[in-house]
Every structure is written in C-alpha cells, then in structure tokens.
C-alpha cells in the first residue's frame, strides 16, 4: 500500500533538492528547472511545491546564515528526508520495472 502519492513537479523538485545538496533553496531550484529542463516556472510555484513536500515529510528545511546579499534576507535551505529518499527510490524502481517490460517496438517513431 502506497501512503502518499507525489506529483510530477514534486518529483522533479525533490530530485533537484537532492541534487543541489547544500545549495538547495528557492532561487537555485527555480533556475535549475528553467535551465536544465527549459521549463518556465515561477519562483512562487517552487515555494508552494516545497511547502507541500515539507508537509508530506519528504524534505526538511532550515534557515541559512545572514549575508549582505539579497537585501540582508536569509535563505531557507532544504534537505531530503529519509522518507523523501525512499519515495524517490520507490518511483525509480517502479519505473525501471515498467521500462524493462517494454517490448522493443513499443511505438513507432
């Protein structure tokens, strides 16, 4: 029984949080999506998704140290929790399973 499903955007952002390690915060994630995936997304949408992921327990967050950048505002950094890691793996396994069962000519190109 799967407890909680996550959406496609949530999955992407969860992966990016994992990928970015120490640098995972709103702006960095938004830019990654924009540059890596060529997908136009606004920073507020990223925040909302992160908030959802946090509520579901897949990421946890903490405030960074004060700097002189960004008008003196601190950043909120995110980290993938063990539950977040588990669900990423689960999705990966499920996908791999499905891919492996694809016949060679599944669709015509």
């Amino acid at each position: 029984m799967r407890k909680v499903y996550i959406g496609e955007l949530e999955e992407v952002i969860l992966l990016l949080v994992a990928m970015l390690q120490e640098e995972a915060y709103g702006v960095a994630i938004t830019k990654e999506i924009q540059s890596q995936l060529s997908r136009n997304i606004s920073v507020s949408a990223v925040h909302a998704t992160l908030h959802r992921l946090e509520k579901k327990g897949y990421v946890e967050s903490f405030m960074g140290g004060a700097t002189s950048e960004r008008g003196g505002r601190r950043k909120r950094f995110f980290k993938v929790t063990p539950a977040g890691g588990a669900i990423l793996k689960e999705i990966q396994t499920a996908r791999d399973l499905l891919w492996s069962r694809l016949p060679p000519n599944a669709w015509t190109t």
Partner: protein, 877 residues
Amino acid sequence: MSGSHQPPRWVLGFLAVLCRSDVLEEIEGDLLEFYDEWTKDGKRGSDLLFVWHALKFLRPHTLKRPFYHSKRSYMLRNHITVSLRQIIRAKGYAALNVLSLTLGMVAFILIQLWVGFEWSVDSFHEKKSRLYSVYYTAKGVDAPIGGYRIPWGYKSPTWNFKEDFTDQLMASLPGIAKATEYQALYELPWGYPHTFQLGEKIHKIKGSLVEEDLLDMFSVKILAGQQVGALTKATDIVISERMSNLFFDSPAAAVGKTLRYENRKDLVVTAVFEDLPSNSSLQFDYLLSWKLLHTGEVYNASGTSMIFLLLEEAASVAQIEPLFKNFLHERLVGHVEEEVNLGLIPFDEMHLHSDFVNGVPEGGRVEYLNLFTWVGIFILALATFNFSGLATARSVRRSKEIGIRKAIGSSRSQLVGQFLVESVLLSLIAISFSLVIVQLMLPILNTALDLKLSFPYGETSFWLMIAGITICTGVLSGAYPALYLAFQHINKMLRKEFKLSPGAVRFQKGLVLFQSFVTTSMLLWTIVVYHQTQYVRNSDLGYDREGIIYISVEGELTTKYLLFKEELTKMPGIAQVDRSSEAPHEMKFEVADAINWQGKEPGQQVGFFPTSVGFDYLEMMDLQVAEGRGFSRSVTTDTAAFMINKVAAKQIGMEDPVGKWISAWDKRGQIIGVLEDYHINSLHEPIRPLIVDVKEDLYFGNILIKTRPGQMADAIRSTELVAKQINPNYAVDIKFLDVEYGKMYKSELIASKLGSGFTLIAIMISCLGLLGLAVVAAEQRRKEMGVRKVLGASLVDLIGIFTKKFVVLVSIASLIALPVTYLFLRDWLQGFAYHIALSWLHFFAVLFASLVLAFLSISIQALKTARLDPVDTLKLE
C-alpha cells in the same frame, strides 16, 4: 545587490502585511535575488515583473491566518461564489451592467491618459520650480493683448539684432541666475525647417536658435560631446540623437564633425542630446548659437523670440516682476506705449495657459482639460448609476433570497457585504475588459488626434488609479441597492408581492433624470462644436486655398525666383506660380510704428500686417479688389505702389484711399487699390489691417503654386523636379495650404472628435440603462398589461402607458439641460471672432433626438410585453 536599482518599496510593505512572518524572509530574499537579475535588462519591465511575482506569492500557505483561515475570509469566499452564481444565473443582466461599466471606464481611462499627458508636459525639467517664461502685455484695440513671443521692438527699438537683451536683463534685474532667448527657426511668419548637408546626404530639419545658457537651464540630456559650454561659439551646433543618426553612425561619431548649414556655413557638432520626449513643449532637433544671428548668418524666423529665465534659489517672482516696467521704459524711451510691460509665468504652465485675457495668460488648453476631466467623471457616473438603478429594480426579484437569508440569521453587514462583493466583482470584470479595449484603442486615438499617448504599464500611479476606479465604481454602484435591501423589513420581503418603496422609486427617477441631463448636454455640446468646426474648416476665407501648395524661398531660390517661376509654369499640373513673404493663412507679423500714411495724426498707431507678393498673386489667390485696381506688370511704378484692405482703410480713417500715399519703413508709394477683406489668420481672430506691396526679389518668404484641378500628383512631381534643378543643395519640402490651414484648429478638432466619441459612449450607456429599467418594469407589469389587454386596451395604449413615465422624465431633464449648456456654449463660441449662431434648430434637434432615443430603448420592451397573450400572463394566478 547592485544597489543602483531598487524595487518598488510598497510591494515589500504589501507582502509584509499579508504574509506569515516565518515565510516572509525567504520570499523577499528570493524575489530580490531575481530582481537583481532582471534589472540588468533595464528597470521599467523589472518593476512590473517584481510586482507580478510578488502577487503570485499570495497563496494559502504564505498568507497570515486572518487573511485566509478566518471566518471573514471564508465569508468573503462564500460571497464570491454566490456572486458568481448570480452572475451566471442572470447572464443578460450581468452583461448589460458589465457593458455599460466597461464603456464608462474606457471613456474615463482614455480621458485620464490624455489629460495626464497634457499635465505632464514640461514637467520633466529638473529645475522647473525655478524656470519661468516671460510674456508681454501691450495695448490692444479694445483691451490689452499679450503673448509669449516677445516682439523685437521691445528688446531693441532700433531692431538691432546684435543687442544682447538677456545680458542687459540680468545686469539690471536681481535674482536671475540664467537666461536665454529662444526662437524656433521653423515657426511662422518666416521660419521653415533648415537644410543640412553632409556629402550626398541632404535633410531638412526643425531646430531652434538659443543662447548657451539653455543647456544648463533645461533638462536636455547630453549623450556625447561637451557636457558644458557646447554652444559658446557661433559655429557650434548641438544635435539630437535622431539627427545624428541621419548623418552619422552613432552619437559619439557625430561629435567634432562638420555639417554644412543652408549651403552657407560649416557648423561643428559639439554635443549630441537625447531626443526630446513628446511631452516637451519645446521641440527641436538641433540648437544653433544665438551668435549666428549677431553675425547675420541665420535669418530671423519670426521677428519675435521667447525668453526663459532661471531664477536664483532665493529669488521670487513678486520681487522681480514689478521691476520689468521701469526696465523696459528706460531703455525704450519714446518707443513704447504706457501699457507695455513684461510678466512671468512658471515655464511648465506656459503650455496649458496659451490664451491671453487682458494681456495676462489665462485659460487656453487647460480649459479643455478641465472640461474633459468632468466629462470623464460624468460618463463614469452614468455607468455607476445605471448599475444602481438596475440593481434596485432587480432587487424585487431577489427579495425572497434576501428574506430567507435574513430569516436564517444573516446579519445586515453580511448582506451588505454580499451585494458589495457582487458589484465589485462586476466592476472588476468591467475593468479588465476596459484595459484591453483601451490598449486596442490607443493607437487609433493617437492617429486620429495626432497625439502620442502610451499605455503606462510601469507606472504605479496608473495602477493605483485603476484600482481606485474599480473599487469606487463597485462600491458606489452597489451601495444603494445593498443598503436598501439590507434594511427592509423581513416581513415585507417574504410577502408574495414585494414592491419598491416610494423612496426607491424616487431614487430610480432621480437616476433617469441625471442620465438624461448629462446625455442631452453632451449631445448639444457635440453638435454645436461639430457645427462650428465644420464652419471653420469650410468657410469662405475670401481667397482660394484649394489645390495650392507652397515651398520656402531658400538657397538658390532667393536669387533665381523668376527663373524658377518661368520653368515651373511650363511644367505639367501647374496652373500658376507666385510668391508671398507671409504664409497666406497665418500672417503672424504685425507692425505699427513703421507704417505712415497721408493724414496720419501724431501719435496715431494702427497695427498692420504687411506682406510682399508677386504680380500674379491677386489673380492666383482669387482675391477681390473693392476699389481701384490690382498690381500690374505693365505699370512700371507699381513696384512702388501699395494696396490695403477695407479694414485698414477704416481703421486709419481714410476715405477714398485710392491715390493717397502710404509708407512702410522707408518705402513710400501710392495706394492703387483696396482689397476686399479676407481672412489672414484663423477665425479666432478678426480680420486685421493689411498692407501689400510687390517685391519679387525678397530673400525670404514662400513660393505658392496653384495646381491644375485633379493633377496634384503631377504638380508635386514637377515642383520637386524644377526645385532640384535650380536649388540642388536643398531638400524640397512641399506644404499644402488647406492642410496647414486645418492645423490652426488642432485643439478644436481634438475637442470635437473626442467630444463626439464620448457623447456616443454616454448615449449608449444611458440607452442601456433605460433598456435595463424597461426590462425589469416589463417583468413587473406583465399582469397589469394582461388585465388591461383583456379589458380592451390597444397595443398603442399599452405602449403609451408603459413609456409615458420615462418620456416625461427625459423631457424634464432635457429642458433643464439645454439652457445650462447654452450658457456654456455661448462662452465657448465667443472665443471665435467668427462663429455660427446658436439657433432653435440645435435645441429642437437635440430634444427630439433624446426623446427618440429614450422612446426606442423603452418601447422595444414595451412592445414585447404588450404583445404577450393575456392567457399566458394571467394564468399564473
């Protein structure tokens, strides 16, 4: 942070109020980080992006509790849901309201954009609080006259162009930090765009003659070249970016280069300035040094110049103004009349106060602005009242709903809230439509009215205004029905038949009265203004302006005019060629002391408008000779002869002028004929004394060309060809006399076109309102009509009963509106020396039109109701 750009601070404040404190910091930080990146491509758009993204952050999880998870917030969302259902349920009613609100808002926003633009003219100069324009006051025929263009005679009684007036002004009067004379070289009577040449490139460009202080006084931004002292030498020229791009690759490349001016002198580009914004009243693409006038290398374009002063910080107008009179009269002993004086007006007000009353700036454009501001407010009020009236009428239908809401415990404030949310929602829908429409209409408006308005995306004040309109119209239009229904007694509401109280009926009648009042006034105003504009444009001026084109006398044409005339006359499309030192439609040059005549009494002064023409001028322009004869080549003494017009003969008090002598400056000769009066200026001004002589060798003026009917294209080709041959170093700039004549009425034309557009909108809104009221009334009176029909009333009777109330109201409103508007229009027409007479026909036409429109809007519904079968309408019982 780059530090150079700051996002709009109110956005951050806004977020701080709405957002939870635990997420506020990261939101602000992320937004600021993005903002830094956006500002790399300029500030304008990034501010807008900042606002947009900040708004997108307002989501449930970021908002403070009271804004999302509170009773009030749930209530609000419920109100919105219910309102949307109401709108969907009564689609026609909502559409009617949105349509009329949209029309009203479009009119209001467009007017505000235009008015705002006009107010912003000249406001961009940093030192505007200390910048002043000088105006003069002089003796007029009845009352003192005045103007911004100071006649040369006031500056130097001997017309010595080398005297530096501003230097003397600064030396004699305290408190003036800087001063400059200003003359637009393209302005009438003798100005035209001057010619510049660089190799093969020849262009005619409009520019001005100024003193070097001008660049320090006004905010003219230097892009390349000398920041200071760019106009110290007579050979210096400062050009605009636009002009530098015509001749050179870039502004920087222009600096230090030489341009050939009027094929006469080489000028060195010392600086390039940023193109002037369209809201600058002074327009020029280059500035020449005033010293050129001293050396005689540039001709005086108008015999007048404007004078601008920059006062010292501590100086005040009250301290300087009283000293002007003494200063002038000391210098010009015996040359000026007692009334002559100078005055100051803040520079940024000069554009709006273009008219002079008793020699002092008063009114002008600003009157139109005020008028249209009111028109905008009234139109919006019409739409708002429509809504109120309709909502009140419809409340009958919703009485059950409200009654039940009350019965199950809804408070008054919640009911009021429900109605207000509904009206604000409709107003929001309307404003979104109007913003789209305004955007689509702006380019059309700009072309039709020759304006340069743009949609102010980045301006906070504009969006605040939009928010203001939305909320005000929403709340105001919903207020009466909301309060009315919320305070009705529950028993009344749940009764079978809910009837409007007498108060509500009076309110409705008041609205209809007000609407008809506004539309009738606007209709009358528009018809009269349109009529007058047509009159001005089509009236017989006493000369023929159709099919006449003209070019300036310049370059080789100053000496080869006769050759040009001979060559051009042979060409296809050309009927006749002649010349005049003044533009025939707008003779700006007036002189009094240089004109003398037989029997002139000592001290008698009459202002004359002099012009020098060729021998064929009278025939070509179709001017009528009243007495004596016109100029003739065969009479050798005619080069020394004069003609005057009838007004001149009357004003100098000369009977039988033919044969008597008259003189202009040092030329003296016989009056050989008297011309019938013809208009030498716009119809705003009465016909003034005219003195004409023949001079075919003047170095300035215009060559007028009469084209053959229907061969304008040939004529233009011929003129260009011959001008290029004889005058190769100059670009040909052909003007059309009728077009130039029309330009003198630009503000009237704008008023007329805008006026008719907005009147149309007002009428549409009112008709929609009446239509809506009729729909509701028809619904309520179905049974009554049914009963009447059963008892034998005819269709005509029924329609009569139905429309009577409205028609009476509209008639009363019109009868009040017409006289009020009449008084207003009388003043407006007084601004023209020649104007149409207001006749009863105007009033009857308007009254008739109002009644017909009202009748039509109502009777369609009336007819529908009257034709219903009584069997259907009465069976419900």
